[in-house]
C-alpha cells in the first residue's frame, strides 16, 4: 500500500472518483416499488376532500397514501410538532404534500400523482412576515394562536444612555432573500422491510439519521428499535437534509411497511426545490450609536425571520442571529428583539450559517458606514471595537477559555491581500468602464449547538484480533470528509497506520444518538469522542501489557504500530498485542463520550455563556463593476480562519473555498422566487448557483490555535467559511461604485454618472 497522503486523505475518495460510490438512487433491491409525491396548486386552503380514485385506477399503481394511512402520528417536528407527513387539515404552502403514490414504476407514480383531485376551500395567504405579525392576520396554524413562532431578546446595559453617549446614530433597514441549499443530490430514500424481524431499513440522503429515525418511528407508530437508518453516501447537505429529508424517508418507510415491499422515492429537482426548506429571508432594522472616536456605544435592532409554513428549527436559527447580532464587536448597550414568523411561504429551516449570513450582511456593512461617518477606515473602526482576549460579548460571556484570534484573522487577510494599499485604488464610482473595488468582512461564531440543545457525541472503537480496527462515530458523513477526519485522529492517537482502520458503516442501531451533523460540530464533537475513546482503549491496552513491558501503565506509549515501554526496544507489535488480549479474555473495545462543556442562557434577558467556544474568520474580495451593464466580476478572494487545528488541511481548504463560493451566490446570484407563494425557480437552470466562471481564484489560509476545551484542539470551519463573503462583496461594490446595497442578492443595473447637482438634475 502506498504511503497515504494525510494532507488530503479521504476514505471515500477512490469510490467517488471511480463512480463506484453508491448513493441512495444507485442502490438496487429486488421487487422494489417507486413512489412520488402529490402537490396541489393551493398556497393556503382548508382541505375538504381528497379523491384518490383516478390515481388508484391507473394500471401499475399499487396504493395512494394520505394522512388517513398513517398508523402513528402524522404531525411531527424537532421543536414544534407542526410538520405534516401528509397535509391533513390545511394546505399551508405550495410545497405541501397531500399524498404519495406508490407504483410499479417511477413514471407511473409520477403520472398518477397528477390525477389526484383535492377539493379545498382557498384561504387568504399571508406572504409578508411583517403583515403576518399583525393581530388581524390570517393564522397559518390556528392552534398556535399567533403567527409569531418565537421571540428572542438581548437586553444589555442601558440603551438610552448608549444613545446619549453617541455622537451620531446610523439607522438602516436591510432585507435578505430566500435561498436554496442546492445540494447536487436531491432528497432520496429506499426503505426495505426486513423479513427476519420486521425492522424497516432506511437508506437515504439525510444529515441526521437519528432525527430521521424519530420521524419514521413516529409516523409508523413503532419503537425506535424497529427502524434502522443505515449510512449511505450523501450528495451534499449544507444544513438542508434534516426535516424534509426525514419526512421523505418517513413517507417511503410508510409505503414499505404497509405494502411489505422495498420502496424507493427519489425526488425530482422541482419537487426538491418546491418542498424543501430554505434559508430564512430576514428583515432587519438596525440602529447603531457611535462616538466621534469611532466607538460603538449602542445597538438597537429588530430582526424578523420569515419561517414559512412550519416551525422547523426557526427558534434555533433566530437564536444564533440574536446572540451574534452585533458581530465580533464589543457593545455595552444592546437591545435586540427577534421574531420568527409563520407565513404561507416555503418553509425555512437550517442552512449553512444558520442565522449568521443574514446578520453579517447587516453588521459588516453597518461598521463600514459608521467608520466612514467617523472619518476612519473600516479596518481601524473594526480594530477599535472588535473582541479581544478577555472581552465580554453582548450576552455577557467572557472570552477567555481559548485564544481570541479576531485580530489575527483580520491581519492575516490584510497582509495577504495588501489590502490597505489596494483600498486606495478603489474607484468610488469615478473612472472608466470597469470600476475597481476591494472589501472585507469578518465574524466570530459560537461553535456547535450552544444553548440551543443537548450536545454530546459518542464514538466506538473495536480493535480486532489481527490488529485491524473498526471505528464508528455519531456524526454523519455529509460529503465534507467527517469519516476521514475521525480516522486521521484515531490513527494519530493510537500511533497506527491509517490503513488498519476501517470506518464501520454507520447504523442508528449501533452508535448512540449523538445528534445531528450540523452547527459545524462534526470535527469538534465527533473528533472529541474519538480521541476520548482512543484514550480509553489505550488505558486498557496499557493495563494489559505494562507488566510485560516492565513499566507502569502510565508509561506505555503507542507509536509506529507498536506498543512501547520506556525504551523503543521494549515493544509489542499492535497486531500481536490485540491477539494476546483476545487470549487474555479482554476486548480491545472502547466507547468514548464527548460532552460539550456547560453553556448558560437566560431567555428573558438574552444573557449567558451562549457557546462553549468560538471561532474567528475574515474574508476579502477584489472585484470590478462594469459601469454600463452593472456586471460584477470577482478578481480574487482571500480567507483566513482559525480552525483550532486542521485535522485534514486540504479538506479544511475545501470547506473554505466551497463556503466562499456559496456566499458569492448569496451575494450576487441566488434567489428563490415565488410570486403569490408559487415558486418559479424550480430547477438549476432558473435558480442560479455559482459556476466555475463566476468565481475568482481563491486563497484559503488556515490559522491554528488549538482550543483547550476540544480534546483534539480542533474546532470548526463549515459554516464560518460561508457567512462573510456576501458582505465583503457588498463592501467592495460600495468601494467600486460609491453605492450601498441593503438587500440581497445585490442587483446592479447600469450605474448613473456621478453628479454633484443632486436629485432631479436630469
Amino acid at each position: 500500500m502506498p504511503e497515504l497522503d494525510k494532507k488530503s486523505w479521504r476514505n471515500d475518495a477512490y469510490a467517488k472518483v471511480t463512480g463506484r460510490a453508491k448513493f441512495t438512487d444507485d442502490l438496487k433491491f429486488a421487487n422494489v416499488l417507486h413512489a412520488a409525491p402529490a402537490y396541489t396548486d393551493f398556497v393556503h386552503a382548508r382541505i375538504i376532500s381528497i379523491d384518490t380514485s383516478l390515481a388508484e385506477n391507473l394500471p401499475g399503481v399499487i396504493k395512494v397514501l394520505t394522512a388517513r394511512d398513517v398508523p402513528g402520528t402524522n404531525r411531527f417536528g424537532q421543536i414544534i410538532r407542526d410538520f405534516r407527513i401528509f397535509a391533513d387539515d390545511k394546505i399551508r404552502y405550495h410545497g405541501d404534500v397531500v399524498a404519495v403514490v406508490v407504483a410499479e414504476t417511477r413514471e407511473i407514480a409520477i403520472r398518477a400523482a397528477q390525477l389526484l383531485k383535492v377539493n379545498a376551500e382557498p384561504l387568504t395567504a399571508v406572504l409578508d412576515p411583517e403583515a403576518a405579525m399583525l393581530p388581524d392576520a390570517p393564522l397559518v396554524h390556528e392552534n398556535h394562536g399567533t403567527n409569531i413562532v418565537n421571540t428572542h431578546v438581548v437586553r444589555r446595559g442601558d440603551v438610552e444612555a448608549g444613545f446619549r453617549q453617541a455622537d451620531f446614530v446610523i439607522e438602516e433597514k436591510f432585507q435578505t432573500q430566500t435561498v436554496e441549499h442546492a445540494y447536487m443530490e436531491t432528497e432520496a430514500a429506499v426503505c426495505v422491510p426486513r423479513s427476519t424481524d420486521g425492522v424497516i431499513e432506511v437508506y437515504g440522503s439525510m444529515q441526521h439519521p437519528f432525527s430521521t429515525r424519530r420521524f419514521v418511528a413516529a409516523c409508523l407508530g413503532v419503537a425506535l428499535s424497529e427502524v434502522e437508518v443505515i449510512g449511505t453516501p450523501m450528495g451534499g447537505g449544507f444544513g438542508g437534509k434534516d426535516d424534509t429529508a426525514a419526512i421523505v424517508c418517513a413517507r417511503t418507510a410508510l409505503a414499505a411497511k404497509l405494502l411489505n415491499r422495498p420502496v424507493k422515492m427519489v425526488y425530482r429537482r422541482d419537487w426538491s426545490m418546491r418542498e424543501s426548506y430554505k434559508r430564512h429571508p430576514y428583515r432587519v432594522h438596525y440602529k447603531m450609536g457611535v462616538t466621534k472616536a469611532g466607538r460603538i456605544t449602542v445597538v438597537q435592532c429588530k430582526i424578523i425571520a420569515d419561517g414559512g409554513a412550519y416551525c422547523s428549527v426557526t427558534p434555533w436559527v433566530t437564536w444564533r442571529s440574536t446572540v451574534q447580532c452585533c458581530g465580533p464587536y464589543v457593545v455595552e448597550n444592546v437591545h435586540c428583539d427577534t421574531f420568527g414568523v409563520y407565513t404561507n411561504n416555503v418553509v425555512a429551516g437550517a442552512m449553512r450559517g444558520f442565522g449568521s449570513p443574514q446578520m453579517n450582511f447587516v453588521i459588516e456593512q453597518m461598521v463600514e458606514i459608521a467608520a466612514q461617518r467617523a472619518g476612519i477606515s473600516g479596518v481601524e473602526f473594526r480594530r477599535r471595537n472588535m473582541v479581544r482576549q478577555g472581552s465580554v460579548t453582548i450576552t455577557g460571556q467572557k472570552l477567555d477559555g481559548h485564544k481570541v484570534a479576531m485580530e489575527q484573522a483580520l491581519d492575516t487577510v490584510l497582509r495577504e491581500m495588501d489590502y490597505e494599499k489596494k483600498l486606495a485604488k478603489c474607484a468610488h464610482g469615478i473612472g472608466d468602464d470597469e470600476l475597481y473595488g476591494i472589501g472585507l468582512a469578518m465574524s466570530y461564531r459560537g461553535v456547535s449547538l450552544g444553548a440551543e440543545g443537548v450536545d454530546f457525541c459518542a464514538a466506538i472503537i473495536n480493535a480486532q484480533a489481527d490488529g485491524s480496527i473498526f471505528v464508528e462515530v455519531g456524526v454523519h458523513e455529509n460529503g465534507q470528509g467527517a469519516e476521514s477526519a475521525m480516522l486521521l485522529l484515531l490513527a494519530e492517537e493510537l500511533g497506527v497506520d491509517l490503513n488498519r482502520i476501517r470506518y464501520r458503516r454507520s447504523s442508528t442501531s449501533n452508535i448512540p444518538d449523538s445528534g445531528t451533523t450540523v452547527a459545524s460540530r462534526g470535527t469538534i464533537m465527533g473528533g472529541g469522542a474519538v480521541t476520548l475513546a482512543a484514550r480509553e482503549l489505550k488505558k486498557k491496552i496499557a493495563g494489559a501489557f505494562c507488566e510485560k513491558l516492565g513499566c507502569a501503565a502510565e508509561e506505555v506509549r503507542f507509536k509506529d504500530n507498536f506498543i512501547c515501554g520506556r525504551s523503543d526496544t521494549d515493544r509489542i507489535a499492535f497486531g500481536d498485542a490485540m491477539r494476546q488480549m483476545w487470549q487474555m479474555q479482554q476486548f480491545p473495545f472502547a466507547l468514548g463520550t464527548f460532552k460539550a462543556p456547560r453553556v448558560t442562557w437566560d431567555e428573558h434577558t438574552g444573557q449567558g455563556d451562549a457557546y462553549f467556544t468560538w471561532v474567528y474568520g475574515c474574508q476579502a474580495v477584489e472585484l470590478t463593476v462594469n459601469k454600463k451593464s452593472g456586471r460584477v466580476k470577482l478578481l480574487n478572494a482571500v480567507a483566513a480562519h482559525d480552525v483550532g487545528r486542521a485535522v485534514n488541511p486540504e479538506m479544511v481548504r475545501g470547506q473554505i473555498y466551497g463556503g466562499m463560493a456559496m456566499s458569492t451566490g448569496y451575494g450576487l446570484h441566488e434567489e428563490v422566487k415565488a410570486p403569490e407563494g408559487k415558486m418559479t425557480t424550480l430547477n438549476l437552470n432558473t435558480y442560479r448557483i455559482p459556476r466555475s466562471m463566476d468565481l475568482p481564484e481563491m486563497k484559503a489560509i488556515i490559522i491554528e490555535n488549538p482550543d483547550p476545551v476540544s480534546p483534539t484542539g480542533a474546532k470548526s470551519i463549515g459554516e464560518p467559511a460561508n457567512e462573510i463573503l456576501a458582505p465583503a462583496i457588498a463592501n467592495a461594490i460600495f468601494n467600486a461604485t460609491g453605492r450601498r446595497h441593503f438587500s440581497l442578492p445585490i442587483h446592479l443595473g447600469a450605474l448613473p454618472e456621478p453628479t454633484t447637482c443632486g436629485e432631479g438634475c436630469k
Binding site: D5, K7, S8, R10, D12, A13, Y14, A15, K16, V17, T18, G19, R20, A21, K22, F23, D25, D26, K28, H181, A182, Y183, M184, E185, T186, P233, M234, G235, G236, F238, V266, R268, R269, N478, G479, Q480, G481, E650, M651, R653, G654, Y657, G658, G659, M660, A661, M662, N683, L684, N685, I689, P690, R691, S692, M693, L695, E697, M698, A700
Partner: protein, 185 residues
Amino acid sequence: MKLFVNGKEIEVPAAAMEKRIVEFLREDLDLTGAKNACDVGACGACTILVNDEPIRICIKRVKDFAGQRILTIEGLAAPDGTLHPLQQAFVDCGAIQCGYCTPGMVLTAHAFLLNNPRPTREQIRNAIFKNLCRCTGYQQIIDAIEKAAPHYQRGERGLQAASTPGKPASRHTSKGVNLAKAEAG
C-alpha cells in the same frame, strides 16, 4: 442497434431504444456513476463522453447513440483498478467532497485535456463551466486538472482509457496522446 460502452460492445434490445440513455446506463448496465440531478441538462452530473466529447445525457434517448463510442466514469480507471492520472489528481488535490458531481466533472476534464494538454487555469475554469459543484468552489478541481495536465502532455500509455476495441480513434494521436487499449471491465 449497438453501443460501445467502456470498450465493450453492447447490443441494445429494441424495447430499450426509447429509454433515456442515463436510465439505460444506470439501470440496465448498472453503470450508476452518471447521476440524474436536474433532468434538464443544467448541472452536468450526468455527463459522459461520446466519441470523446462531453455530453449531458439526461435529456437524451438510447437511440440517439446508435453505434457511438461511450465512456463512463467506470471506464476511466485501468482494468486492475489503478486510478487514471486525472482521477489520482482529483484525490490528491482534495477535489472530492460529496462526490456527486465528480464523475461528470472528471469526464469533462478528461475530454478537455485530451484536446488541450497545456491549458491555462482560466481555460480550465472555462472548460468545466457546464458542470455544477456545490461543495468545492471549483478551486481544488481546477488544481487537480492542472496537476494532471503533464500526463496528457507526455501522452502516457493508457491515458485515453476505453475506446472501441481495436479501433482507437485517430484524432488525438497528432497531439501526442498514445492511445492504448485499456479495456474497462
